[in-house]
Structures are given as C-alpha cells and as structure tokens.
Symmetry: C2
Subunit: 248 residues, 2 copies
DNA sequence: ATAAAATCGGAACCGGCAACCCGTTTCGAT
DNA sequence: ATCGAAACGGGTTGCCGGTTCCGATTTTAT
C-alpha cells in the first residue's frame, strides 16, 4: 500500500532494493549515460529503456522524471571533475596545473553532449554539483593568477563562459581537424603578456548601450528616466502593434 | 488547377502577387524574424502565424516548410554581413578592420538566436549564402594576416569556430555583465606576439589519440590495423553487450 | 512450497507541433 | 456590379515523445 511513487533515493541507491531492481537500476543508468552522451537531453526515453533492455515503466520506477535521470547520469562525472580540481588546488605549479586541468576537462567533455549541456547550466546537474565545480575551478584560477600565469582581469565568470565556448567550438569541428586547436587558442588568450585590448568592464550599474528589440540596431543610452528599448519611433510602433496582436 | 503547392519564389516575392498576399507575406516574414530571433528554429509555427495575424495555412501558402521560412527570415542578414565584408576587403588598415568587423558581427548576432543557429550551419541559411559569408571573411582574415595583425597559424576554419564560440560565450552571460568581454578575449588570442602554446596541427591523415566510446578515457593510438575504439577489454565487452541488446 | 509484496513491461494516454485540406472570403479584371 | 480565381484560416491529421497505469512476473520471507 503506502506510497508507491516515492522510489529513487537518487544518492544511495543500492541499499535495501530487491536484487533485480538494483540490477535494472544500474542498467538504466548505464544506458542513460551512453544515450545522453551521444544525443544530450534530446535522447528519447524509450531509446534508453530499449538499450537497457527494460520497459519504460521500469525507468520511471527508478527515476521520477527524465530530467532526474539525466542528473543522475551526469552528476558523477562533474563531481569527479570537482574532486580533481580540489586535489590540484595544492599543487606546486599553479600555472601549469591550471592550463592542464582546463584542457583535460575540455578534452573529456567535448565528445559528451550530455556533459556539455550540463556544464552549460541549462538545468542544474544536481543542486550544488555544478556550483561546487565552479568554486573549485575558481580556486585554481585564483592561484594561477597569483602565480602570474593567468591575466588578472579574467573572472571566474569569464572562465566558465570560455570553457563552454571552447566546448561549443571544439564540438563542431569535423573529423580530420585537430582536436584542441581552439582550446590552445583560448588558453593563449588567458596568458598575461603584451595586450592590445582591455576587457570591457562590467557596467557600473548604470545604463549601457543596448540593442533595439525590433531591428537589432544600436540604441543610444537613454537620457530620460525610462530605459530606451527601441532605436526609433518606427520600431517602437512596430513593437506596440505586435503586442496588441499578441493580446488579441 | 495546375500546381497549387508551388508558391514562394523565395527571392523576388513582390512581383505578381495579389496585394493582400503581398502584404501577408511581408507580415509573416516580419513575424518570423522576430519569433525566430527570440527562440530560434524552435519557435512554433503557430506562434508565428499568430503574431502575423494570419492562419497557419497562410504561412504554408507562402513558404513550403518551416525551414524555408527560416531561411528566408535570416538569409538577408547574412547577405548583409557578406556584402559589408566584401566592401571592407579593400580598406587601408586590414588589421583594425578585421577586428572591428569581427566584433561587430558578434555584437549584431548575439541577441539573435536565429542568426546564431544559421551561422552555426546546422542547416544552410540558403544554398551558398553561408558559404559566401565564409569566403568573404576569409579574405579579411588573409589580409589581416599579411599585415601581421593576426597570427599566421590561424585558419578560416579556426576563425569560424571562434566566431561561433564567441556567440555561445556571449550569449549565456546574464544582464549586468559586460557584453564583449569574451569577444575581446578571443580577439587577443588571435593577435600575434609572445606565444606559449603551438596550435595542434591537423592530423597527418594518420591515427591520433581518441576517446573510449564507453568510459571516455584516453585510447592509445592503435598499433594494429583496425582502429582502437575502447580503452580496455572491460569497456569493449560493455559495448558489445549494449549492441547485442540494441539488435534484440 | 506458498503467498504477499515488490517490481516489471509495454500499452495507452496526452500534449505539442508540423503539415495538410477544404469551405469561406477577398481581390481585381471585365 | 459581377464572377472566377486566388488567398485565407483554422480545424484536422499524423507523429513523436514523456508520463501513467495496471495486469503479469519475479523475488523474498515464512
């Protein structure tokens, strides 16, 4: 009787489960990993069930939703990354360690669409898992900067963006093109040295230049109180008409 | 009688159409631009019809498929980029022009999901349109390299990847973070100067290191004739089991 | 061995969307 | 003003994929 749809203590799974259930759970997880790795979250759930050799019902017995399954499938990889970063935080040569670590993470992630999507943070891998990775990486970054191996104006936000950018760059290179070219390029961009461009500072909470919501053109910073959203009267009217239509 | 489902001469549309048809076509195109801009190809077609104030049937009268509509909606922007690049090809200061152009393209594309997807080449914007852009950009790159403003080991492939990477990087920055930081970083990585890393050369058509198809670990270059796909016997067996299951 | 409980499997359900179709409306030539 | 053809629009169809449900099956405790 009692609750039937509780199931799935996502963390410690092996305890107190019937033997077949334990086995099936592992099969599902394995199948999910390989399917998600190839197709990302887009992988159909039926396909995962088929690969695991179970019915879709069984999948739902163990994981309350597709997304929960996804989390379970990728989070351990991310945790592994995090742990590694934490260990490396006390290494001797922070600069070299930083670059090697970054390259390794990228190399190990590129081929794994699920991991890419998870790192991109479109959905939390698991509450905290992604955040922990970010913080561990921040430590490596900071130490590399202290060792003067990474330019000081780069923030952890920049680095996370750069990481994802590298993933998307490396990802769309066909076979026959060297893996890692973009990563190498990105690493070079982090190195201190003779620089031509200053990184644009984050806006001082004031207004800054934006894009016209209709035509994409440049909008001059507003002089009046309300934020300027359109590049001119024509686009503003167009937007109003559109909204009116939307309400109707 | 005759062909009813021909419709949509995608290029010169205004000729020989009834006045209401011409107007509706423009409305649909405009609505498509704005919807795709926000949501990319994922924007539902019904939503586009709604915004245009027409029925879905009308959309299909003018464009044979959703993708054709998408092409029509974005290709003119790309053509604009291409034309601009061609004009700039004869500019005096190839280095500065190159960097300015690159930044501008990124700035004008980031907020436009449709344009991003089109440039990423997941589907041709229009046969040739995307290719033309690439070639025009290649000219700018080459001239900048001749002027010693861009490192010589960067190829047009690298640049295209870098462009898309910048897009994906800038895209996922929330408001309150300066636009263009990643672009600036990327531009710096292109500049010649004291470099620490060599870009990995494209593989000499020989084998190179790959990843294990199961666990993602490193696979040593194969010594035998057949390509090594797994990092060890365990993973190989796992893969075989999986395939067997897939067949059944 | 037996029965209760847990688990399994896959058919059925449901929502969302692209694409199609056809009765109705509008245009514009005469 | 009239009429035929062109265009409209939204209801309908087909498909896909996530989720649920329940009868059948397996495990485990006694």
């Amino acid at each position: 009787m009692a609750e039937r749809r509780l199931s799935s203590l996502p963390s410690q799974a092996s305890a107190s489960l019937r033997s077949d259930a334990r086995r099936n759970r592992a099969l599902v997880l394995q199948a999910a990993r390989s399917a998600f790795e190839e197709a990302g979250l887009g992988a159909p759930l039926g396909e995962i069930a088929r690969r695991a050799g179970v019915g879709t019902g069984t999948v739902y017995r163990h994981f309350p939703s597709k997304e929960a399954l996804f989390r379970a499938a990728v989070s351990d990889r991310i945790v592994l990354f995090t742990d590694t970063a934490r260990e490396l935080a006390h290494a001797d040569d922070p600069g070299a360690v930083f670059y090697r670590y970054l390259s390794a993470v990228i190399r190990l992630t590129v081929r794994n669409k699920a991991l890419c999507e998870a790192l991109e943070g479109r959905f939390e891998a698991s509450p905290g898992v992604e955040e922990a990775f970010r913080e561990a990486l921040a430590v490596l970054l900071q130490r590399a900067q202290q060792a003067d191996a990474v330019r000081k104006d780069v923030t952890i936000d920049d680095l996370m963006a750069l990481l994802m950018g590298c993933l998307s760059m490396e990802q769309r290179r066909g076979p026959g093109v060297a893996q890692g070219r973009m990563t190498a390029l990105a690493c070079d961009s982090l190195r201190p040295g003779r620089r031509v461009t200053k990184l644009p500072a984050n806006p001082p909470a004031g207004r800054n230049e934006t894009q016209c919501g209709v035509c994409g053109g440049v909008v001059a910073p507003a002089r009046t109180g309300r934020p300027a959203r359109y590049c001119g009267a024509a686009c503003r009217q167009k937007a109003h008409r559109e909204r009116a239509r939307a309400r109707a």
